[in-house]
């Protein structure tokens, strides 16, 4: 390690050499930027714009409901506004905003220079931006989705929502979710594999723990909704009746898949915000958090439990009593990890000397509002009470207490806390306090009263109400409160906007914080730290307040850059011991091109111009493959494998670079998608009221087995090649890779034959529709696995893959293992089980 061996060099010169490599291009080429600092800011600024749009929509809702019998908005427009308020706030503000914060902050906190797949960050950003623009455009065209942000079928089906509104939602939101998946995968890999020397898991800042769990939850939690969206869009566009009772489908399946995503989503939003709270409280209490391990355990537990609660959104659909009681108890149990965190914070304040700074004021607001939301949440988890207040304004009040209290207040606290890092300046204390009190009072005026409105029987999502109902006064109070709330938020935004120009200059580390992001210059450079320090505890800046200077002076690892690469540490996931030098890709047109191609796919699907959609898909695939081509040992990724004396090898020259982890986490997401499909299959089979199962499986067993044998042979061959590479020899590597590809292609053909021979009627029965989707899922994987291994064969020819460069086949082999497993599970679930159980209606 170069930790001590690096000779002192001139800080200015170090900065110059690093800046040359890490600089962002300007003008038109700014579209090629991949740097996490820049993209994190872009995420957050874009999120802010969508937040303002969502806020205006909320004000329209409150204006309409301020008085009874209003006709400020037509019913149609009100339903669009109500649907879009939820959609924008959830998908275009809350999730991307927190992803943006994590993308910006995590590498700085773990002593990395970027996220490990920077081009993926850029790709994710453009998917978010383009998807968001597509969704918002529907509102401007007045053809926005109008069946609620949860898009329950059959209301959202082509029969009851014939316009393109639902399509905008399904395609646009799925497009945006690609960005969440990208962020989820790379945050997991970045956190696990690129922490600085000595930052073991137990020394990781709590915020990073929260983000790690959130990222895993995104990876596992979004696929059910992606699958549901694909199925519903297929139903709307092609007529595959997954949710149509008469054809054997079931509208309740949509609700299960939606809330399988939807409930974890609440915690995906809450956890990063709680991470902010866990970061700020120790800093302002001037002591380490009490019960670090308790908090970490609570966060992990929350992540797990949140996947077992989704049915509490569906207590009134008529689910069996016992199951309801189970989900009721599980929903209440989540109060325990939450209470552990709250009492850990309280104990930290108790044992410390807390200062009531502006960020802490917002944390106090968080505590008051979130605790109320949590307590009404426990009430709602009680089934009999839920039956009464479900779908009333009581729930509207509860959910706003949870998400505004649990997400927005900590977010603003975090913004006040980290703003000096971003800008080098301090916001105005006075404007900030006014903003807080107006927001806090306005919020409670709006939503505390709304509990009562709900108890008086006012249902959600009504565009009007009659004066005889006795809801007038409370709605008026809520509307007045809503406008006070928006004035408060406007003041906060003005405060931030003004401080960039008029704010006082902030000293380095103005809050005396303990975490590494404050070792950065203010504002930070593109490469973060000039040299990467080793850490010896959870509080590197309390241990060594001199770090801001010594890192800039190049006194630590990987100081400057010698080989013109973008470099950082790759470390052991558990201990944080450095084991590779990770070189990350530089600015590129590929991400924005791929996202643009996908945007064309999305728009042409909306316009139902399927030829263009097909062509654009092809373009997107080609772009993505070219993008993947310039990786690993490709000269554009890293021309030489030289490293400074004493440094570990480049990750692309080892057996276990971050790319392997990326593939692994990506497959985890893929597996969640596949499990959701299996869930849908078994759910319809066992629960759907008019499920029709043919007497014999339509799938030909000989073809299934033939395909399976070919695939197994190919996968085993690839395993053999990989074993050889691990042992350091590459005899017959190219031949073997091409051979595997040939077998993969043969299996693909067999699968196509199987699909054609099965004579499925996917538009007539839900059974055939699900089988078709499952087979197409298999087909896509056959194609992808074949193409990737074929490209590996080519790369052997180019000299990018060899015994000396064994890394890439180790990445690709994981996809093959996955594909093989999925194939046999498909055979078991779609042929074996139906055959064993006997076809019955």
């Amino acid at each position: 390690m170069s930790e001590t061996s690096t000779p002192r060099r001139d800080p200015e010169e170090l900065h110059r050499t690093l800046d040359e490599v890490w600089a962002n291009p300007r003008g038109f080429r700014a579209l090629t930027v991949v740097n996490h600092t820049t993209l994190g800011l872009r995420f957050m600024i874009t999120g802010l714009v969508f937040f303002l749009i969502g806020g205006v929509l909320a004000m329209l809702i409150r204006a309409q409901l301020a008085l009874p019998d209003q006709d400020f908005l037509s019913p149609d427009l009100y339903n669009q506004v109500m649907t879009m308020h939820g959609t924008v706030m959830m998908f275009l503000f809350a999730i991307p905003m927190l992803e943006g914060l994590a993308i910006y902050m995590v590498p700085k906190m773990i002593g990395a220079r970027d996220l490990v797949c920077p081009r993926l960050t850029a790709f994710g950003y453009f998917c978010y931006l383009f998807g968001g623009i597509i969704i918002i455009s529907s509102l401007l065209l007045e053809i926005a989705p109008e069946s609620g942000w949860f898009l329950y079928t059959p209301l959202s089906s082509s029969e009851f929502s014939p316009g393109p509104g639902s399509d905008f939602w399904l395609l646009g939101v799925t497009f945006v979710e690609i960005s969440a998946m990208a962020a989820g995968v790379e945050l997991v890999v970045g956190i696990l594999r690129t922490r600085t020397q000595g930052m073991s898991l137990t020394r990781m800042p709590l915020f990073v723990w929260y983000i790690l769990v959130m990222a895993f939850m995104i990876v596992m939690g979004f696929p059910p909704l992606i699958l549901a969206s694909i199925l519903l869009e297929l139903e709307r566009a092609v007529g595959m009746p997954f949710f149509v009772v008469e054809a054997g489908g079931d509208p309740v399946l949509w609700q299960h898949l939606f809330w399988l995503f939807g409930h974890p989503d609440v915690y995906i939003i809450f956890l990063p915000a709680a991470g902010i709270v866990s970061t700020l409280i120790p800093v302002f209490a001037g002591r380490p958090i009490v019960g670090y391990s308790w908090v970490v355990a609570a966060v992990i537990l929350t992540g797990f439990v949140s996947f077992g609660l989704w049915v509490h959104h569906m207590f009134t659909v008529g689910i069996p009593q016992l199951a309801q009681t189970f989900f009721s108890a599980a929903s209440m149990l989540v109060a325990i990890p939450t209470a552990i965190q709250i009492f850990a914070w309280l104990a930290t304040l108790w044992l410390g000397k807390p200062r009531m700074t502006l960020p802490m004021l917002w944390i106090l607001g968080f505590l008051i509002i979130f605790v109320i939301g949590g307590l009404t949440g426990v009430m709602l988890a009680l089934v009999p009470f839920n039956w009464q207040v479900h779908d009333t304004h009581f729930v509207v009040a509860h959910l706003h207490y949870v998400v505004v209290g649990g997400m927005l207040f900590p977010l603003v606290a975090g913004a006040y806390y980290w703003m000096p890092l971003l800008s080098g300046r301090l916001p105005s204390e006075r404007l900030g306090r006014w903003g807080f009190w107006l927001t806090f009072l306005g919020f409670n005026l709006t939503f505390l009263v709304m509990h009562w409105t709900g108890l008086l029987g006012m249902p959600r999502r009504v565009y009007t109400y009659d004066t005889t109902m006795g809801w007038d006064l409370f709605n008026l109070i809520s509307s007045v409160g809503g406008f006070i709330l928006s004035v408060g938020i406007a003041m906060v935004i003005v405060d931030f906007a003004l401080h960039f120009r008029f704010g006082r200059r902030s000293p380095r580390n103005p809050w005396h914080a303990d975490t590494l992001e404050w070792a950065n210059t203010m504002p930070p450079t593109n490469y973060n730290l000039v040299s990467l320090p080793a850490v010896h505890s959870r509080h590197p800046l309390w241990d060594d307040p001199d770090l801001p200077r010594s890192t800039s002076a190049g006194e630590h690892g990987l100081a400057g850059t010698t080989f013109g690469r973008r470099e950082m540490w790759g470390s052991d996931p558990l201990t944080g011991q450095v084991r590779e030098v990770v070189h990350v890709p530089t600015n590129s047109w590929w991400p924005v091109s791929a996202a643009a191609a996908l945007a064309v796919v999305c728009v042409s699907l909306l316009a139902r111009v399927y030829v263009v959609a097909g062509l654009a898909t092809l373009v997107a695939v080609v772009v993505l493959l070219y993008w993947s081509w310039e990786n690993g040992a490709h000269p554009r990724a890293s021309a030489s494998d030289e490293v400074a004396p004493g440094d570990p090898p480049l990750h692309s020259r080892t057996l276990d670079g971050p790319g392997r982890w990326g593939m692994g986490i990506g497959l985890l997401a893929n597996g969640a998608l596949f499990l959701s499909l299996l869930f849908g299959w078994f759910y319809l089979w066992t629960v759907s009221p008019q499920w029709q199962m043919p007497d014999a499986s339509p799938l030909s067993l000989p073809l299934l087995l033939a395909g399976g044998v070919v695939l197994t042979a190919a996968a085993l061959w690839l395993e053999r090649l990989v074993r050889g590479l691990r042992r350091g020899h590459d005899r017959g590597l190219a031949f073997g890779l091409y051979g595997t590809a040939a077998l993969g292609a043969l299996q693909l053909v067999l699968l196509v034959v199987l699909l054609r021979q099965a004579e499925l009627a996917p538009t007539a029965s839900a059974h055939d529709a699900v089988v078709t989707v499952a087979l197409i899922y298999g087909l896509i994987h056959s194609g992808l696995a074949t193409v990737l291994v074929l490209l590996q064969g080519r790369r052997v020819g180019y000299g990018y893959v060899s015994a000396r460069l064994p890394y890439e086949p180790l990445v690709v082999v994981q996809l093959w293992r996955y594909h093989l497993g999925v194939y046999w599970v498909l055979v078991a679930a779609f042929w074996l089980l139906p055959t064993l159980m006997g076809g019955s209606a």
């Binding site: 009772v245 209440m332 807390p354 009680l382 029987g457």
Partner: protein, 335 residues
């Protein structure tokens, strides 16, 4: 529009928890009129009281930590012990005990609403949700099924089983003063048991978002003694003899309306609400207008303005006189 001003004493104080049940309209779950709703209301007040206590204690503690002055010097061991006590006590014990008590006390509150077998099988009323009106059927009525729309009559003082489903999209059946709600899902039949302890009129409104006119899908629920219900049903059984007057209006109705609407003895349409006794219903358009003289003709002319997007086509092609004749005839329809 239905207009009647009710007194709301102390309405301003209600959000503070000072207003007592019964101060609001006829859909307040805090003004229970049946055993199920009463149990739930009781659970609510209990939870509110206890959780308010927890909340206030927590906030006071939190603020207290910001007090000035010096803190006692504590050893690291002491600090660890104190921290552990806080986390075990507040983080595990407090919510753990609360959850157990809440489940043990709260879950039985729902028993009343479960359609469990009881000695004498309760009366069954089938309710079907349509965009945006209610179809109500009495399958066991003596002398044959009785069908009506947007009004529901039930016996007081005995449990009633409601079998509900949706005809098009998902709706939800909910009579707040009697008890919880249940979704009306196409292709399924959900059951809930409710009982009214006092006679009276109760408000009800669709609770699951069901499209453009979700807000205007109200149901007029009336609880009355069993004999009156029987009489009410009996009155709707025989085919009413067509009145000799209005013969022309009936012909217009057959021409323009009969494909969708049923009027006993006149037409058998089943797309829209049954109109056989519309003359005595309290409201029109599932609660959009109060029924009064001339209201039906008014509705027929302007219904797309009163209830925009409703599934009945605008009647621009029918002249005003015809509509008035049809309206006048329909107002005479009563059991």
């Amino acid at each position: 529009m239905v207009k009647s001003i009710r007194q709301r004493p102390l309405a301003w104080a209600a959000p503070l928890g000072l207003g007592l049940a019964g101060c609001a309209g006829d859909t307040s779950i805090l003004d229970p009129a049946g055993p199920a709703a009463r149990d739930v209301a009781l659970v609510w007040w209990g939870m509110l009281a206890f959780f308010t206590l927890v909340f206030v204690a927590l906030v006071v503690l939190w603020l207290y930590t910001f007090r000035g002055g010096s803190r006692p010097e504590r050893s690291a061991e002491d600090e660890r012990r104190i921290g552990r006590h806080w986390i075990l006590g507040g983080g595990i014990l407090l919510p753990g005990v609360t959850i157990v008590v809440l489940l043990a006390w709260g879950v039985p509150a729902g028993q009343h609403m479960l359609p469990l077998p009881i000695g004498k099988p309760p009366m069954v009323i089938e309710v079907v949700g349509h965009q945006w009106w209610w179809e109500v059927r009495y399958p066991d009525a003596e002398g044959g099924e009785v069908v009506t729309a947007n009004q529901l009559v039930m016996p007081v003082g005995e449990p009633v089983d409601f079998h509900v489903t949706g005809a098009d999209v998902i709706h939800a059946f909910w009579i707040p003063r009697l008890g919880g709600k249940i979704d009306m899902i196409p292709g399924r039949i959900n059951r809930i048991r409710l009982e009214a302890e006092v006679p009276g009129v109760f408000g009800a409104q669709c609770a699951e978002f069901c499209g453009a006119q979700h807000a205007n899908m109200r149901l007029h629920v009336e609880a009355m003694p069993r004999e009156e219900v029987e009489a009410w049903l009996a009155a709707r059984r025989p085919e009413p003899a067509p009145t000799p007057e209005h013969a022309e209006a009936r012909e217009h109705f057959r021409e323009h309306c009969a494909d969708c609407h049923r009027v006993a003895g006149v037409s058998e349409g089943d797309v829209g609400p049954d109109l056989s006794d519309i003359g005595v219903r309290a409201t029109l358009g599932a609660g959009v207008m109060a029924m009064q003289e001339g209201a039906i003709a008014d509705w027929l002319r302007h219904h797309q303005a009163y209830k925009p997007g409703n599934r009945m086509p605008a009647h621009d092609d029918i002249d005003a006189e015809t509509l008035e004749a049809i309206g006048a005839w329909l107002e005479t329809l009563q059991p």
